[in-house]
């Protein structure tokens, strides 16, 4: 529409590809290729192998994967409960209260995640609650970090909700609890599941806060990837990264299937 001549179009597309492919496609392809190679010091990787994957899906690495999955699921469920509840409560408040709740629940996005890690570490390494050295401190930090995103997406969905349905239900004599359970939550289900997917992906890739407070027996996958690359095993790191990306994408795909089933309403 903007460029009409044929040559101009092709030139524009060429520039686009020249920028897009090296910057965005190549990094992911490079990681994928490196995870299957033993050596890469020329134009192409050499020594194809799948051994790294058997290493990346057993022993410590397998444990790191399950650690990451458990942490991400727990943090997403907690964050969705907390953020969703807060978003629903905020919707029924007056302007002032709503703005206060907005500010409170969006604050964790603005605070650097390393600082969130530091804060949780400082607070829960001392009485009354000692969580340092347990898995709970990691899950707690992840929950804090992703709650803001859950709150944001649920409250955006609540704002778009047509008030007609709940008013009709209430008019027909449904109690507020029944309206919430039978009308609002089902209507919100598509956005709840997409918020869950977002929270899950963020928590799977979380490194900054985790580096501050992970205990030795609860090392999530990103920490394992960093440990591998830090000691020079870049290829192992690449294989672990592919495992991380695949796991994230599989769960996201599963979650989006729930969404399509629910959104026919």
């Amino acid at each position: 529409m903007l460029v009409h001549s044929r040559a101009g179009k092709w030139a524009t597309w060429a520039v686009f590809l020249l920028l897009f492919v090296p910057l965005f496609a190549v990094p992911l392809l490079v990681i994928l290729a490196a995870s299957l190679a033993t050596n890469w010091s020329g134009a192409f990787p050499s020594g194809p192998t799948v051994e790294r994957y058997s290493a990346a899906t057993s022993g410590d690495s397998l444990q790191a994967l399950t650690t990451s999955l458990v942490t991400a699921v727990a943090a997403s469920v907690l964050a969705l409960t907390l953020g969703g509840w807060a978003a629903l409560a905020a919707a029924s408040l007056r302007k002032r209260g709503k703005r206060l709740l907005d500010a409170l629940f969006i604050l964790p996005v603005a605070v650097p995640s390393v600082v969130v890690g530091l804060a949780v570490l400082v607070a829960y390494s001392q009485p009354p609650v000692l969580l340092n050295g347990t898995r709970w401190i990691v899950i707690l930090a992840h929950t804090v970090l992703v709650t803001a995103f859950a709150y944001q997406s649920v409250s955006a969905a609540v704002r778009r909700l047509d008030p007609m349905y709940e008013q009709a239900a209430a008019g027909l004599g449904a109690s507020p609890a029944r309206v919430l359970w039978r009308i609002r939550l089902p209507l919100l289900l598509p956005s709840l599941t997409s918020a869950a997917g977002l929270c899950f992906a963020l928590s799977m890739g979380e490194l900054s806060a985790t580096m501050m407070l992970y205990p030795p027996d609860w090392t999530p996958l990103p920490v394992q990837i960093f440990a591998a690359t830090d000691r020079g095993s870049l290829f192992t790191g690449a294989a672990l990264a592919v495992v991380l990306m695949t796991a994230t994408l599989l769960v996201l795909a599963a979650v989006s299937r729930i969404r399509t089933r629910a959104s026919y309403r």
């Binding site: 686009f16 910057l23 190549v26 490196a34 010091s41 530091l118 008013q167 963020l202």
Partner: protein, 300 residues
């Protein structure tokens, strides 16, 4: 219309004015704000209380008592000052880079459509769900000291080592940040472009305006709010970026989050780490509030 009248009849406390939402949620016995208390309490315990402790710890040096000495010490140190300047220029540089690149790419996807453009837009979405350090990991393979580019160079020229050493300098971090954060600019831009009425472009073009002029006078004004919102979001995220800097493993590149990490975990100097953390919070919360204001103005 009938449903609306029923609702007002049953919930008479709601004024018939333009506030339709709250009526059913406001229960008869408990005021609405009570329902907001449990999540706020949990958030306070899990986040606000720790944050307050960080501030408290930043004014309590190891020797005990309350003083501003940790601040004086940290502000006087060379490491902190260079970290502050590195953080700020890296963030500003990456933001400018992301804005330019994101604008160009989004422009092509939206206005010079090609087969597969939808797939590219979806790829950008997927890209956003990956952690940032993957980019640095990939760059290590491409430009690292034993990577692809240097290997090619030594093979072709026979030199002992290749010319690419920028990965452990701030430029490596800049490249990684621009790569990772550009999609965050593209998304709001693509959304804004999809709402732009293309007949405006056709009219401008039939009146004889060239592509550059159309971009400057028709598209850019429409895109400005989205650019502002995306740009300030990216600025905040760059200020707080940790994974990319950690993975380059460069001793020469210290940003504020990196300084927090090294003070707390590597040196166990918690008061100093808390001081840096407070400075970092102040900068990024300030900027994020600005972002909220800007994006609300933009209606995004």
């Amino acid at each position: 219309m009938t449903t609306a009248t029923t609702a007002t009849a049953v919930a008479p406390r709601t004024p018939a004015g333009p506030v339709p939402g709250p009526a059913p949620a406001r229960s008869r016995s408990v005021p609405a704000w009570v329902w907001a208390l449990p999540p706020v309490a949990v958030l306070a315990l899990a986040f606000l209380y720790p944050l307050a402790l960080v501030v408290q710890q930043s004014v309590t040096p190891d020797e005990g008592g309350v003083s501003l000495d940790p601040y004086a010490d940290v502000f006087a140190s060379e490491v902190f000052r260079s970290a502050l300047t590195t953080t700020v220029w890296l963030a500003v540089g990456s933001t400018v880079g992301c804005l330019v690149l994101g604008f160009v790419l989004a422009l092509v996807i939206a206005f010079v459509p090609f087969p597969g453009g939808k797939a590219v837009a979806r790829f950008v979405d997927v890209f956003l769900s990956f952690p940032s350090f993957l980019i640095t990991l990939a760059l290590l393979f491409v430009y690292g000291s034993v990577g692809m580019a240097n290997g090619l160079w030594t093979d072709v020229t026979g030199a002992a080592e290749g010319p690419f050493h920028f990965l452990t300098t701030p430029w490596g971090v800049l490249l990684a940040e621009i790569t990772y954060f550009t999609p965050f600019v593209m998304r709001p831009l693509l959304a804004a472009f999809s709402q732009l009425d293309t007949s405006q472009l056709e009219v401008a073009s039939s009146l004889g305006a060239g592509p550059v002029r159309i971009i400057r006078q028709v598209i850019l004004p429409e895109a400005l709010p989205a650019l502002a919102a995306g740009g300030s979001l990216v600025l905040v995220m760059c200020l707080n970026e940790f994974g990319i800097v950690l993975f380059t493993g460069a001793k020469g590149v210290t940003t504020l989050p990196m300084l927090v990490y090294s003070k707390a975990i590597l040196e166990s100097d918690y008061p100093a780490a808390c001081v840096v953390a407070v400075v970092n919070i102040a900068i990024s919360v300030g900027l994020y509030s600005l972002y909220r204001v800007v994006s609300r103005r933009a209606g995004a």
